[in-house]
Symmetry: C3
Subunit: 424 residues, 3 copies
């Protein structure tokens, strides 16, 4: 099995679990991820903890939830698809007329086959999500409503993976574990993050340290920043929000607020040379945890490289964003881009030429000794172009951009030049 | 009557008066404007006053001027149209042949119906302006020439309206009162300036102070700067030359020399969102008092927002730029743009978010508590986008530009956020 | 004879001489140039001198070289065309089969009539260059090979012309004298440089000093920099590599590495207004001594203005780049552009207006006293536009660029304004 298939398999295993901001589904998810990367720490903060302007909410769990229609059929069964239940629904056990029930039903007329994904985290409500097609079949009569949920003081649970490198400087990845049974948004993020964690652990002589967190969206990132902002502002050189990295339909880039950070630079370089047809959004198109990481005063250097971006594909936030929507190829593509980004960051350095004027490559066996006209010149040009910009003011990615080559085509040249101490 | 109609009525009243650099026509014009805005100060500087490289010229007045043709008809009669007389014509009472007279006649072959507007401020001359059609009808014979003018030591007369605000910092408007009977260039400038003066006086809690001056072009602005340059360089945050603001054919923008002042920023923002089809000139197209206000060493932050720009419409500087060329709608459009500019300057401020990360709008009743998919997100986006850039480095206009909304769509949001102390 | 014809005549005289990195051909070439400009110093550095990463090679000379074919015909005769011999060929006197000989032959199948230009400076080899058409006619049999060359300790010979001006600040020209019998690349460079030297010497009240060097390519510029880098970094305000300035097919511009030096600014200004169809290359297209002059740590402000650029025309580095490829018109065009560049540098200055507001040109006889409408205004605009930017932050070339006129159209205005002390 290749890496894409492995990631897909992990998605499949995690798919049925009911995740939300809090609760046992998050714990179960993180324990499976810890099986894959044992260094993952699973941490909790209690309900009521103040995080900047926000408060950690009550913990929500649900055992059972369904509706019995007038003919005695069980519909909107949470055990069949956890999207049927409005997230954070309060418990109820009652009987209602269809009219009364309708106020608690959510469906999408424009996507009649899809169960929408809906939540009510901060206002007490109950509700069911149903495909519009099923909703239209509902007949007059008495409906039994049953939600066996709890909303009690408890914890917000999250995962943190810290991987040390030579430097205290960190590369940061954030992904979220609060979405129930959906694929691209969002099992792709935590599963790709898990395999990137394995990849980083496999790198020898890591220059940078790495921080990967698995949190619930919004409240999780705000909570995490409220605990770690000071250190992260000091150490983070580049960060990436890992979301919507599972389908095979597109590549997308969403910049940092600043638009000009190292994260943006490396992401754009890798995308331009690997997937030049990628779609470029603006920070105005944001919608995930970059909203917090790039907020005024936080301003971490973080951007997002995605496959089909949240809110930009019809299946988004519905039961159609399922295991069929994502694929091993889609997941592997995103994994590959992000591992290229990690490689580029690790190799990136501001190299300086050790000679004044061009060095004599020939006497070191690095230059053809016979000038054979146009052809040889072109080959050597790549080496000379790299050296021509090793002036202490351009890093490797800058130079690759100036001389129009992907950064990985320079890795070998750099090793040669280092060996001959032509650069430092 | 709406404001446009009021301004037009004022133009009509002022139209017949013979204005020039100096003289009783300027005094009469200013006294009518003072009736509208009693706080207007009418000031004078004597002939011979040195103003930088220039000297205030003699005062010119004219009682009568005409030509009697060989058949005894009175032509080029100053009392019929003051454009017939070359501005600053010296007195004369003589009889000439047609050939001799021709050297003193000015007409426009390309606009045969129009009387051109001509002056000779700094060289002693006399002359008459005539439509080319009439000129061609002139027959051989003796012509009686009569100009009963005076060119004597006197004064240059101008108006100054100072309106105090909370701050010493000033917004500056300059307009000119030296043009005889013409409409767009120039009765529109002083009349629109008068109504903007009324508007500014009506504003409660004015942040800025305002300075509006009514001067003759060139010598007037140079004279005024020679008296006030030091204080104006210290206090002026934005200035606007008010000219050609009367017709309904176009909107035009002429930048400051720098091109990047607050005046330019606010003018471009308002034009882009109100009249996006406006014509953008460069500083090389200048021709009015911006020549002085933006000259090296003066460098006031001043630009011009006009309707049809001087030198860019065929009727310019002829008898065809009359009360038919301008209109209530044209004047009101210019008034409206400039009052939007004033509003934007008054509201403009560098707001800073008071929270780290996004605030929880929901607990303040500012955010829908149920995530209803794509639609609700879009509505809230405008609020969140504004907050996302309240980082202490962007002022309100910058943010409006970044998030692609007119600044006035944020006025209410700002009030809400201020009330909830989410920004400061 | 015009200047182009004179330069062409000099090319013709120099054409037959066998030039290389070193040797008597370089000495003979420089002695002819010294006849034209007696102030030229001819200097030598010995074999083995260390120059940054490089070492001055042995001196190479060749008396005779040819091949006798199996039928007794002398072919590839160095005395007929010095391109026949691989530059820096070691001596040999032997007999080989055709197969053995083939390893030492160089030809261009794509240009079958052309003898290629080839060298082997830093690896000991011998070889002959031959048109592909002749090569294909060679028959099996024994070939006598004879190269009567020497490769011995000696000198690298170069020329240096220093012309003092009022200022220690220098304008630098570099050209090379290492190419055997070719025209555009390269007899055009040293011959045009010679005539530019004459032109500079003829200028009265030179503001700048000038340094023109005649060196072998690469090793020559590296050698020269190793001796003069410190002073040149302190004094050089603009430099130009003079190469490929002989044909009449194109104008080309190759920027400095920085792209934004005074040399680039003046070159682009002159080209834009004189030869707007010129071809703009990037620093990635470099290939001559700009590789050294613009290398990291050297960073002289140097660019190249060429006719057909090296490597960009089919005749390049072959026997087809001969006296027919270049022309008097081509040489004169390049001479003219470079003398305009010199003029612009000499006149370039940051002028400052001496008045606040516009000066009154009329009282100085510089302004028409009668406002005759649109037409007169346009004429005066050029004068006023120049003054409007004399603010102490724009030099003459900047202003000319802003107001869209060639710098030479302002020379007269500057003299007028200086005379009236309106600028300083």
């Amino acid at each position: 099995m290749n890496i894409g298939q492995n990631i897909y398999k992990l998605c499949k295993e995690l798919f049925p679990i009911n995740r939300s901001l809090t609760g046992d589904g998050v714990r179960e998810t993180l324990s499976i991820l810890k099986r894959e990367i044992p260094d993952l720490s699973i941490l909790e903060v209690p309900t009521g903890t103040q995080c900047f302007d926000w408060t950690v909410p009550k913990e929500w769990n649900c055992k059972e939830a369904y509706i019995i229609d007038p003919e005695g059929n069980k519909i909107c069964d949470f055990s069949q698809n956890n999207l049927h239940l409005l997230g954070y629904s309060t418990p109820i056990d009652t009987t209602l007329t269809l009219d009364e029930l309708q106020k608690h039903l959510y469906s999408l007329p424009e996507l009649p086959e899809a169960i929408p994904y809906m939540t009510s985290y901060y206002k007490k409500r109950w509700g069911f999500c149903i495909s519009h097609k099923e909703r239209e079949k509902l007949k007059e009569g008495q409906y039994r409503i049953y939600i066996n949920s709890t909303l009690e003081n408890g914890h917000l649970t999250y995962g943190e993976l810290l991987i040390k490198g030579e430097s205290e400087q960190e590369v940061f990845f954030s992904t979220y574990v609060c979405h129930p049974s959906m694929g691209n948004n969002e099992l792709s993020g935590p599963t790709v993050a898990t395999y990137l964690g394995k990849y980083i652990q496999s790198l020898q002589n890591r220059k940078y340290s790495y921080r990967i967190i698995f949190i619930p969206e919004t409240i999780g990132s705000i909570m995490y920043l409220s605990k770690h902002l000071k250190e992260m502002k000091e150490t983070t050189i580049a960060g990436f929000n890992l979301t919507c990295v599972g389908d095979n339909n597109a590549y997308s880039y969403l910049p940092s607020r600043d638009g000009n950070t190292l994260a943006d630079k490396v992401a754009l370089h890798v995308l331009n040379h690997s997937e030049p047809q990628f779609k470029k959004y603006t920070f105005l198109d944001r919608g995930s945890d970059e909203r917090q990481y790039c907020s005024p005063g936080v301003d971490l250097p973080l951007c997002s490289v995605m496959r089909s971006k949240f809110m930009e594909y019809p299946e988004y936030h519905t039961s159609l964003d399922n295991l069929n929507y994502i694929s091993a190829a889609g997941l592997e593509g995103a994994y590959s881009i992000h591992s290229k980004i990690i490689d580029a960051l690790e190799k990136n350095h501001t190299y300086t030429s050790t000679t004044l004027c061009e060095p004599q490559l020939g006497k070191r066996g690095l230059y053809p000794t016979l000038s054979e006209g146009t052809k040889t010149r072109e080959i050597v040009k790549n080496m000379m172009n790299f050296l021509a910009y090793c002036d202490g003011s351009h890093d490797l990615i800058d130079i690759a951009n100036i001389i129009h080559v992907p950064v990985w085509e320079l890795y070998e040249i750099i090793e040669d030049f280092k060996q001959h101490t032509l650069i430092q």
